[in-house]
């Protein structure tokens, strides 16, 4: 660029097209990552969509069947039940960590002795290897010898079957999800709390507002954009939850905790039904994108209000 004045002038006149103009020189930084990530994402996508139109069992020849895999899914009871399990699981695995994470963020935002230390302890679960954590929970859930039933007996509650009964398996898995991912929600909300101005609180204190009023009238609206970010991330991750369910109960007992992700894993790698599994992937991704768009739209609203 020759002449600072011309450049400055161009910058002012080109405010509208500034995105374009500013991007070009920086593209050389971006394109290597862009090419690699599109290769890693786009190639599998084209392949998946193509396979979802085939009747293909690994080991035998594939046959082009148009949309048969999709229409079959619509009447596949096991798949429809898996969709139901996914929704039930996701609602609980999003809502509860969000509420507890917000509470934890409010607590760890206060200044007290040893805060850094306790906060580090609190975020340990989200860093711990989920497969290893699931293993420990599996042992804790054991109906006869598990420590959880012992703890229940200490407070006078009857023992539970935990992950060994169809009725309690999903709520039990939710306990593990809460344990693992509450710290994640806490960290995002904590970032929001750290960016809050202090003036409204001082004014509210002078006016004699209660803690509860200050939370709902000041903190909540200001932190809302952060809550929505945590909500979007958590929803995506909860829909995709796999390791806890697979390690702890394999989608069982029977198929009572089989979510879409577990169902498609079984189809692809246990039954080698690549065509069906690919169709499930496409439907699954469509659901994730649709939900994310709804939440992103909610985020825009949260920003403008």
């Amino acid at each position: 660029m020759a002449g600072g004045d011309i450049a400055a002038g161009a910058r002012i006149t080109a405010t509208k097209a500034s995105g374009e103009r500013r991007l070009r020189p920086y593209l050389m930084f971006i394109w290597p990552a862009l090419i690699v990530s599109s290769a890693l994402i786009v190639f599998p996508w084209i392949f998946t969509i193509w396979m979802s139109l085939q009747d293909w069992h690994i080991g035998s020849a594939s046959k082009f069947v148009w949309f048969d895999n999709y229409t079959n899914l619509a009447s596949n009871r096991r798949f429809l039940e898996a969709v139901g399990h996914t929704m039930y699981f996701t609602v609980l695995a999003v809502f509860l960590p969000m509420v507890l994470g917000t509470w934890a963020a409010l607590v760890f935002h206060k200044k007290f002795a040893g805060r850094g230390f306790y906060r580090t302890l609190f975020i340990m679960p989200m860093m711990a290897t989920p497969v290893a954590v699931s293993l420990i929970w599996t042992m804790m859930f054991h109906p006869q010898l598990g420590v959880l039933n012992y703890l229940l007996s200490l407070v006078g509650l009857p023992p539970s079957q935990w992950v060994f009964s169809p009725g309690t398996v999903i709520p039990s898995l939710i306990l593990v999800e809460i344990w693992l991912w509450t710290p994640f929600c806490m960290i995002i909300v904590l970032g929001g709390l750290a960016s809050l101005p202090t003036e409204p609180y001082e004014a509210a204190l002078i006016d004699g507002a209660s803690q509860w009023q200050m939370f709902w009238k000041i903190t909540y609206p200001l932190v809302l954009p952060f809550l929505v970010v945590a909500l979007i991330m958590r929803t995506i991750d909860a829909l995709k939850a796999f390791e806890t369910i697979w390690v702890i109960c394999n989608g069982g007992p029977g198929t009572s905790s089989e979510t879409m992700n577990v169902y498609l894993y079984a189809q692809a790698f246990a039954y080698n039904q690549v065509g069906t599994a690919s169709a499930v992937v496409v439907v699954f991704f469509a659901i994730i994108v649709a939900l994310s768009l709804v939440l992103l739209w909610a985020r825009q609203k949260a920003k403008w209000n």
Binding site: G19, M51, F112, I123, M127, T129
Partner: protein, 280 residues
């Protein structure tokens, strides 16, 4: 009798303090209990592990479970596999991701950042079927490289995400000064912005390392007998010895140990790093 303003304030302060202490205790109890139970299981003989009522702490702690894990499975091999997979996936992601984060932050190309969200939304399994087929054709199944390549799906978005947040808060006056002195865009990045970004790079690298280390599903599909990563190896122990609780807990500790250590190293920056990315 009305309380004086002073006592009222004192009471309120005492109440706040107790509420805070109770909250911290309630929040931390489940977290600590699971870790405590894991350690307890790993230090007890199986006779104590299957006793009722449960034995909370053994009279004589034993290291036998850890010894057994190393005796019965080639843990060092699995450890080395994990190091290769996670190390190479993190290094390549740094090479590609740090410049990309810089470019996106400086050009304010937020739409590019949206692509990252897309890669997070894509179910991991959708990568697996096509890549599995492709690697089979290429004859790479049975080596660690397919696993390392798929782990890039995890490490690259994390590093770009963290670096965008980091470079956006970096003052750009220094680079502009370098540009006026005749440095190219690349030189300004390489000699000015990059050295200043070292703390951010460390946080991004460690967070990427942790997520990749913890990943199970890619390894579960692509790993053969000799190429298992640590989480896959531990999962396999579960299916073979579901009642040997002591060795299982010991194996769980061995897998987690590097991650726990790294978390402690960057504990302060984790909160900053992760929440900075969240604002976008």
């Amino acid at each position: 009798m009305a309380l004086s303003y002073r006592t009222k304030r004192k009471l309120r302060k005492a109440w706040d303090k107790t509420a805070l202490a109770v909250s911290v205790a309630v929040l931390l109890a489940p977290c600590l209990f699971v870790f405590f139970w894991m350690i307890s299981l790993s230090l007890k003989y199986d006779i104590d592990n299957t006793a009722w009522p449960p034995v909370f702490w053994p009279d004589e702690p034993t290291w036998d479970n850890f010894a057994k894990v190393f005796e019965e499975s080639p843990m060092f091999l699995y450890f080395w596999n994990s190091v290769q997979v996670t190390g190479s996936a993190t290094l390549v992601a740094l090479l590609l991701g740090v410049p990309a984060g810089y470019g996106i932050a400086k050009a304010k190309a937020n739409r590019m950042a949206g692509i990252l969200l897309l890669s997070r939304m894509t179910p991991g399994l959708s990568y697996l079927i096509p890549l599995f087929t492709m690697f089979q054709v290429l004859g790479l199944i049975g080596t660690v490289w397919p696993i390392a390549l798929t782990h890039m799906v995890i490490t690259l978005p994390i590093i770009v995400w963290i670096m965008i947040g980091f470079f956006e808060t970096q003052p750009h006056e220094l680079e502009e000064a370098a540009r006026i002195d005749g440095a190219s865009l690349w030189q300004a990045f390489r000699y000015v912005a990059l050295p200043l970004a070292r703390p951010g790079i460390v946080v991004g690298a460690i967070l990427a390392f942790i997520s990749s280390w913890n990943n199970f599903i890619f390894g579960a599909v692509f790993a053969g007998r000799t190429t298992r990563t640590m989480p896959v190896a531990v999962y396999n122990m579960l299916t073979f010895e579901s009642f040997a609780w002591g060795p299982l807990a010991a194996a769980a500790i061995i897998v987690m140990l590097p991650v726990i250590v790294l978390t402690i190293v960057i504990q302060k920056e984790i909160v900053q790093g992760l929440s900075a990315g969240g604002v976008k």
